[in-house]
């Protein structure tokens, strides 16, 4: 967010007087601190000793370095890595398919030459307001599509997200009609017009949807919880660990299941922080790495569109 503001306002900043500059950068610093401090607190607390966190509360610095929380999160490293693998595959395949389908629907319903576009749009919009609920969906997936306990159910479950269609439809609607006419004159097919003419022009829209779609797939424990027995993505694996805290306390007090946790304390306070880090770290890495592409897409789109 801050990067975007910076690029847009670059020319403006050069024109600022020193006093205005100080104010401007001061404001940015305050915003940055407001974002950074909670995050630093999260990271630092996850590496701290649980008893100190309990006594002093969470702080944005490490209190008595300890890896106890991560020892529990990575107690079964094989399972954990397999969960990451499941999540990565499902997120990559699911997001790609999600973008492809949403872009195709968004493109076709945005074209005024498509006569049935209002009816088709209504069909999709209808499902936002009226939902059949869990039971019919379960029956459909399990009995009629035979998707139970398959990779396909994790990928296909959230594959059509209507708000994504609406976002993309609005972006496609902004593409000048003359471009479509020109493409038609040059003999481009509908597919070619969609993917080679219109889609590159709405890169910011695609970037936004990629962002949401990746987050949707990555943070979805429910599809896996309901529809699979053996495939456990990270989101589900970690949500199970939070349930495990209670069990650990119980187990320890009963003196069974010799858990390999240093000391006698279960780091239940820091464990939640460690779980948050384990879920968000890969996303953080990916988005930091690709942030410049998003920014470029957003900026170039703003000029051309």
């Amino acid at each position: 967010m801050s990067a975007r503001t910076k690029i847009k306002d670059k020319s403006l900043i050069n024109k600022l007087s020193p006093a205005e500059g100080i104010l401007f950068y001061g404001l940015l610093c305050v915003l940055m601190i407001a974002v950074a401090v909670p995050f630093l607190t999260l990271v630092a607390s996850s590496f701290s000793s649980s008893s100190l966190i309990r006594a002093n509360g969470a702080r944005p610095w490490i209190q008595a370095f300890s890896l106890d929380a991560y020892k529990i999160v990575f107690m079964y490293p094989g399972d954990m890595l397999y969960s990451y693998l499941v999540s990565v595959v499902v997120t990559a395949a699911g997001s790609a398919l999600n973008i492809l389908l949403c872009a195709m629907v968004g493109y076709s319903t945005s074209r005024s030459t498509f006569r049935g576009r209002n009816i088709v749009t209504f069909f999709f919009a209808f499902t936002i307001m009226f939902q059949a609920g869990f039971v019919p969906q379960y029956i459909l997936y399990r009995n009629y599509l035979n998707l139970y306990n398959t990779w396909a159910v994790l990928i296909l479950g959230p594959v059509v997200i209507v708000p994504h269609i609406i976002i993309l439809r609005a972006f496609y609607a902004g593409v000048p009609g003359e471009l479509y006419d020109a493409a038609k004159v040059d003999g481009a097919s509908q597919y070619r017009t969609c993917f080679q003419i219109a889609t590159p022009l709405i890169a910011p829209g695609i970037a936004t949807v990629v962002f949401y779609s990746v987050l949707t797939y990555w943070n979805d424990p429910f599809t896996a919880m309901l529809y699979t027995d053996d495939l456990v993505p990270v989101a589900l694996y970690l949500s199970r660990i939070t349930q495990y805290i209670e069990f650990l306390k119980y187990a320890q007090q009963n003196g069974f299941a010799g858990l390999d946790v240093a000391g006698s304390e279960i780091p239940e306070d820091t464990l939640l922080y460690a779980i948050a880090i384990a879920t968000t770290a890969p996303m953080l890495f990916i988005f930091t790495l690709f942030q410049r592409f998003f920014v470029r897409g957003l900026a170039s789109g703003a000029v051309k569109g």
Binding site: F126, T127, R142, Y227, N254, E268
Partner: protein, 501 residues
């Protein structure tokens, strides 16, 4: 597939499934014939509940060991195990039942995989014929009034598991050393298991402990998070909620022979409870923003359970909701209910079968105590199976092996509590919610809005808020619910010939 058609298909299929299931409900006579065992090779599908956060990694070897043991004990039968964790069990089963998945046995209770809901969905078979025919020991072991408690419209739909039936009020002191020091100093001769014998008010005792911690500056001690309202109302004040849960108004004081249904939230006991919480907060025994406390609510005291930490604060009492707290049901999709019933009987009568499901395979998942054939010495960490904490859900807890920390006469103690505690005459009363279903839901919403905040002293002005709470409850229909409960209870008491005091 696009969203609209997906949903349209769903609706159509759901309707079709509902019609199909409504069309083929056989009469009881037909059912009983269908229930008999044909003696052919059969694979029982058992949805096992697994009391851990993750499903077991090594279910296969447990299944293999179980089937090897079954060869001699239940011929021509194999069991296919599917294990779901407690947290996910309800969702998984609700899906499987909705989709008419073929299975034979599952766990059910008032809360987890809810019994009444599933009976109404016709997910379970009535067992009135099967229980005495194929599970005579189970049928004989459970007292008649507990079977009555499990009846819905006169029929039993699940086999009740034998475990600790009465409930006892308790709190978890968390630190065995500190609580022992306190008891030695303030009440010599009393242990955590005999605090109830002091005859003190439970809250006065807790307050004394917290004051002692504070005065002697033991650690950060002397704090509590909140009072568990449900447990306090039931297990301490002795209010039976007649099976609707404590978040629905309408309870009967089990020690008062007048059998008057009252709104527990309008009672003096509830007002005193809130006053206690607020007093504790004002002196700093309740603190906000801290997640671990020296006293934590625990729903129920049991013998040999976290020895040294759990404060037994009351005497045990029977309550209608908890005598059917854990049960095994047979699915209406079962192709051989008689075989399923025989397996449920084996869980009770055969320690080997029971303990395979509880502890796994000997020397693979656990090591037995060489000196005691019914005690395990160690559960092997990371071995992939540990369902030790599910003994209470496997037919009969009394055949479970003991864990290293449990006393040798644990099951004798539990049996003694079951037998010695006077059974409340209310046990056997089934409240039919049909007439006030919506009002119950409305009242629950109001209770869930106010009660947790009162339990941790969150409201600034408690008197105004309590008045608001009660008027909102009345608006939601609390009085009608109470009246309906009273009406049905009166009819039950009259039919049983129980006189009101």
């Amino acid at each position: 597939m696009n969203g609209f058609f997906k949903k349209a298909f769903c609706i159509a299929f759901a309707l079709a499934a509902a019609l199909a299931s409504a069309a083929c409900v056989p009469s009881l006579g037909e059912l009983e014939e269908r229930y008999d065992d044909d003696g052919k090779q059969y694979e029982l599908a058992y949805y096992l509940m697994y009391n851990d956060s993750n499903p077991p990694n090594d279910l296969k070897s447990v299944e293999a060991r179980l089937n090897a043991a079954l060869k001699a004990k239940l011929p021509d039968t194999t069991v296919k195990l599917t294990a779901y964790t407690i947290a996910e069990y309800t969702a998984k089963l609700s899906g499987a039942i909705a989709a008419n998945v073929k299975f034979d046995i599952c766990y059910t209770s008032p809360e987890v995989n809810p019994y009444l809901t599933n009976v109404q969905r016709e997910a379970f078979l009535p067992l009135d014929y099967l229980l005495p025919t194929y599970a005579p020991e189970t049928w004989a072991a459970i007292p008649e009034n507990i079977w009555t408690q499990a009846r819905v419209d006169g029929k039993i739909y699940a086999s009740v598991n034998e475990q600790i039936f009465p409930r006892t009020y308790c709190y978890d002191a968390r630190n065995a050393t500190l609580i022992t020091q306190f008891l030695n100093a303030a009440h010599p001769g009393t242990t955590t298991d005999t605090v109830n014998e002091l005859g003190m008010d439970a809250f006065a005792f807790m307050e004394e402990y917290m004051a002692w911690l504070k005065a002697n500056d033991r650690g950060a001690g002397g704090k509590i998070s909140s009072i568990d309202t449900e447990s306090a109302l039931q297990n301490w004040f002795g209010y039976d909620n007649l099976g609707t849960g404590m978040s629905t108004p309408g309870v009967v004081d089990i020690e008062d022979g007048s059998y008057t249904v009252v709104n527990q939230y309008a009672s003096q006991d509830y007002r005193n409870l809130i006053d206690t919480v607020y007093r504790w907060k004002s002196v700093g025994y309740i603190e906000e923003g801290v997640s671990v406390f020296d006293l934590t609510p625990e729903s129920n005291w049991k013998p040999g359970y976290r020895r040294g930490n759990i404060l037994k604060l009351s005497d045990p009492h029977y309550f209608t909701s908890y005598v059917i707290g854990t049960m095994n049901a047979i699915s209406s999709t079962s192709k051989n209910p008689a075989r399923a019933m025989k397996f449920i009987e084996l869980l009770r009568t055969d320690a080997e079968i029971h303990n395979i499901l509880q502890f796994g395979v000997e020397d693979v998942h656990y090591i037995k105590d060489p000196e005691n054939p019914v005690r395990i010495a160690e559960q092997i960490t990371g071995s992939g199976y540990n369902n030790a904490q599910f003994g209470w859900g496997l037919g009969c807890e009394f055949v479970s092996y003991l864990t290293p920390s449990q006393p040798a006469d644990l099951w004798e103690q539990v049996k003694k509590i079951n037998a010695d505690t006077p059974v409340s005459p209310l046990v056997g009363f089934n409240f039919n919610v049909a007439a006030v279903k919506q009002k119950i839901a409305d009242c629950k919403a109001v209770v869930n809005e106010f009660a947790p905040a009162f339990a941790s002293a969150q409201f600034k002005n408690k008197d105004d808020k309590l008045a608001e709470f009660l008027s909102r409850l009345n608006a939601a229909g609390a009085n009608e619910v109470v009246a309906e409960k009273q009406k049905q209870l009166d009819a039950y008491l009259a039919a049983r010939g129980i006189a009101k005091a």
